[in-house]
């Protein structure tokens, strides 16, 4: 088949977009689970869960879509990442299952409610940590022979990936607390205002460690940032600016801005990560073109994606619109 234009770039954009959507949207509802054990009281926990109940599984849609899309568009990523992260993937899935089922049953439980609370908290935290460790593992790179992963079972679990794992837990908790500032009021909102700066501090500390460490383990990254001084330095600057906005808006007791600025932190650091690694998708050896599937397979699926993604986006916006406003005790009114 004649290759008229480069579908690999389009697919990289699609998967990248899906991943960002996932991180931003599932991030704040995973954050509720991470913050769950520390919430001021049981009533606050009910409100926290209610604030994300209508939307969380729509948010997870993006993960599954991204996973399936990866196999179709970048099979090498799928067939190297999953074996390399074997145990981590299991923890991620187990965590997501436990918290998913907690959403279903905590509302229907009477005596067993505390069990589902724990299921929600532990599941969310484990899943978030596993995702953060995946990011760390990606930065570290993978040992491969030919097109096959050849490292060990726990290569992904290093001090560095533990730090990135904890970093994402802090980051999701931050998304979660700023979401609560936006969506709740009274005691719970006060509490969210209080913890937000601490969570931001933890996240920024991890960013500093990652930024210092990465250029040391990866020559390409070092060259990109330090040899040719370029426009990409604007990205970390924007991250810093967003962090500043979070602090200032929390001090001013603004309700929407902390959440928006936190999303900005995620967006710009995500772009900075892409800027560091581009075009390597299975570092250190393989670029997106090495990892890509056949042209006709990419095209075949693209048609379906282009049809369904607008519908999912429309449906998602509609749900967010229906459940706009503050969540009160007992749910949205």
């Amino acid at each position: 088949m004649e290759q008229t234009f480069d579908l690999t770039i389009i697919w990289a954009g699609l998967i990248g977009f899906g991943l960002m959507m996932y991180v931003l949207m599932d991030g704040f509802d995973l954050g509720q689970g991470i913050l769950f054990p520390f919430a001021p009281n049981e009533k606050a926990r009910d409100t926290m869960m209610n604030s994300v109940a209508p939307i969380w599984d729509g948010n997870e849609t993006w993960l599954v879509l991204g996973g399936a899309g990866l196999l179709a568009a970048f099979p090498l990523v799928y067939s190297v990442f999953l074996p390399a992260l074997y145990i981590g993937v299991f923890l991620l899935l187990a965590g997501l299952i436990f918290r998913g089922i907690a959403f279903e049953f905590r509302f229907k439980a009477n005596k067993s409610k505390h069990l589902w609370s724990w299921s929600f908290a532990v599941g969310s935290t484990v899943a978030s940590f596993a995702q953060g460790a995946v990011v760390g593992a990606y930065i570290q790179g993978f040992e491969t022979e030919g097109f096959v992963y050849s490292g060990g079972a726990l290569d992904w679990l290093t001090p560095f990936t533990v730090i990135t794992g904890l970093g994402l837990v802090a980051g999701y908790a931050l998304l979660g607390s700023t979401w609560l500032i936006l969506k709740t009021e009274g005691e719970l909102q006060e509490w969210a205002y209080k913890i937000t700066p601490r969570l931001l501090g933890a996240l920024l500390a991890v960013f500093v460690i990652v930024s210092i460490y990465t250029p040391f383990i990866d020559e390409t990254v070092k060259n990109r940032w330090f040899e040719n001084i370029s426009i990409i330095w604007v990205l970390p600057a924007l991250v810093a600016y967003c962090a500043f906005v979070v602090i200032r808006s929390v001090q001013k007791k603004q309700e929407g801005m902390p959440f928006v600025a936190t999303m900005g932190i995620f967006l710009f650091s995500y772009l900075a990560l892409i800027a560091s690694k581009w075009p390597y998708i299975v570092p250190p050896k393989f670029t997106i073109w090495d990892a890509a599937s056949a042209y006709n397979s990419q095209l075949f699926l693209l048609l379906g994606f282009l049809f369904v993604i607008p519908i999912i986006l429309g449906y998602t916006s509609w749900t967010y619109w229906v459940f706009r406003g503050k969540v009160k005790e007992g749910g949205y009114h």
């Binding site: 399936a68 179709a72 799928y78 999953l82 145990i87 049953f105 005596k111 397979s297 699926l301 379906g304």
Partner: protein
């Protein structure tokens, strides 16, 4: 003892896929049943159909919810344990599995919400349309999955280039030689499952003297369906078997416990296949019947297991006995269908406790039969992952160790036992609540969460404090 990652991965895959399969096989048939109830209500205006539909929609919501969760695990299994297979087949398998995901999401994002929560918010005709679309969607989902499986059984339309299959013809790859038979066989199995579960649960309600009018109607309809579907499945199954004989003769030889290529092959009712000795023990057989069934000729020649090397034979005992369980249950379904017909005059089918209690038990039979059938076709393909082209061993993740595989195998067993027993426990609560609870106005203090299937059900999972 050295842990073998290959065996452990196969056990793990079998475990998660068996666990997963029981949910979609039920929802596919149930979606059509609900569409049927809705259509009958639309046409006749008789409120019993509405009562039935409301109850079975709740059951559907819970089963669909569990199926989606276990399906997510499935989509990662290919990559974690079978990465060589995934990589080699990604050009085909990737788009096909993605299309299944897209179908499911499209459904969930559009018509499922209307079906579950929209009854009072949209016109009745629109609600019926949503029910029909959900039923259609479940079939489209199964289309993709069965196309993927059929390609592994009877590969076609692909070409191997540099260690990766490239799709030469999407039509050939999606509609392979075994696809049509598999799709028909599985579709009928889904309908049979729904018919038998509806019959069994209705029988149970009737025995308890609950909502008699509606449950009798449901029982009556499902018995008529059983009467058509069970014999039809025998015929389709026979054609599927002939197709398998043509393309995977070794699998059929294992199903029949037939070691030697011979004419006038007997049908074995009982035997203990012994793979080591390459023979059977304690055979009880009907002469020449297997030849008749497989070749439609008393003296037809049927290839035996010894046509291939021992290493290329599937585990005969498992295939042989799974096949007998499936066929035995299928025949039992026909017996119940005929029994229901005999009891039809004078409405005795809903007054005979023995028959009703039998139906209660039979509601489990389609699940066992479906799993046994999948064991036949999947184990019967062994040692091949893609028939004749890639073995299980070649498809396995090279970096996988026995310890890793054992860790996740135990992990999935623990997670599934905890989480899904809660799901099934909850489903039983919905059953116990019955039509009465499903039709009672529920308290509105709980927020409605239109994206979540479980919200359609209103039972509590445990007792009140």
């Amino acid at each position: 003892m050295e842990l073998d990652p290959l065996i452990l991965s196969r056990i793990q895959f079998a475990f998660v896929v068996c666990f997963h399969a029981i949910f979609p096989v039920f929802t596919i048939g149930l979606a059509s049943t609900i569409a049927g109830f809705e259509a009958l209500h639309f046409k006749t205006g008789n409120p019993v159909w509405l009562k039935l539909s409301k109850f079975w929609i709740q059951v559907f919501a819970v089963v669909f919810g569990i199926g989606v969760v276990s399906g997510i695990v499935m989509s990662f299994q290919f990559g974690t344990n079978w990465s060589n297979f995934s990589y080699a087949t990604a050009n085909f398998l990737g788009p096909v599995l993605s299309y299944e995901v897209l179908t499911a999401f499209f459904l969930e994002a559009s018509f499922l919400g209307v079906l579950l929560f929209g009854r009072d918010k949209v016109p009745q005709g629109v609600h019926l349309f949503a029910a029909i679309m959900v039923a259609t969607g479940t079939f489209i989902s199964s289309f993709w999955i069965l196309a993927a499986n059929s390609l592994m059984q009877t590969p076609d339309g692909l070409e191997m280039i540099n260690g990766m299959y490239v799709v030469r013809s999407w039509t050939d790859a999606l509609f392979t030689a075994s696809f049509g038979y598999r799709f028909m066989h599985m579709g009928l199995a889904s309908f049979l499952t729904a018919a038998l579960v509806v019959a069994g649960v209705s029988a149970w309600f009737i025995l308890q003297k609950r909502e008699l009018e509606a449950n009798r109607k449901a029982l009556s309809v499902s018995l008529w369906f059983l009467l058509i579907l069970a014999p039809a499945q025998t015929i389709v199954g026979d054609y599927h078997g002939l197709n398998t004989l043509k393309h995977q003769p070794t699998k059929v030889a294992a199903m029949e416990g037939n070691w030697e290529t011979q004419t006038g092959v007997p049908l074995l009712l009982f035997a203990i296949p012994d793979q080591e000795a390459q023979t059977n023990h304690f055979e009880i057989a009907i002469p020449k019947l297997a030849s008749l069934i497989l070749t439609h000729d008393w003296d037809g020649e049927v290839p035996g297991l010894k046509e291939v090397a021992v290493e290329e034979q599937p585990p005969v005992f498992v295939v042989f006995w799974s096949f007998r369980i499936m066929v035995g249950l299928g025949l039992l379904m026909i017996v119940f269908a005929l029994w229901g017909l005999v009891l039809r005059p004078g409405g005795r089918y809903h007054q005979t406790p023995l028959f009703l209690n039998g139906l209660r038990l039979m509601s489990l039979s389609p699940f066992i039969a479906v799993l046994a059938g999948w064991v036949v076709t999947e184990t019967g393909r062994a040692p091949w992952l893609i028939y004749g082209q890639m073995t299980h061993a070649q498809g396995l993740t090279p970096s996988l160790t026995g310890g890793m595989a054992l860790f996740t195998l135990i992990g999935y067993i623990v997670v599934y036992s905890l989480v899904f027993s809660a799901g099934i426990y909850y489903l039983l609560k919905v059953f116990r609540g019955g039509l009465e609870k499903a039709n009672a106005p529920h308290e509105m203090d709980e927020i409605e969460r239109p994206t979540r299937p479980f919200s359609a059900a209103h039972a509590a999972i445990d007792e009140e404090v």
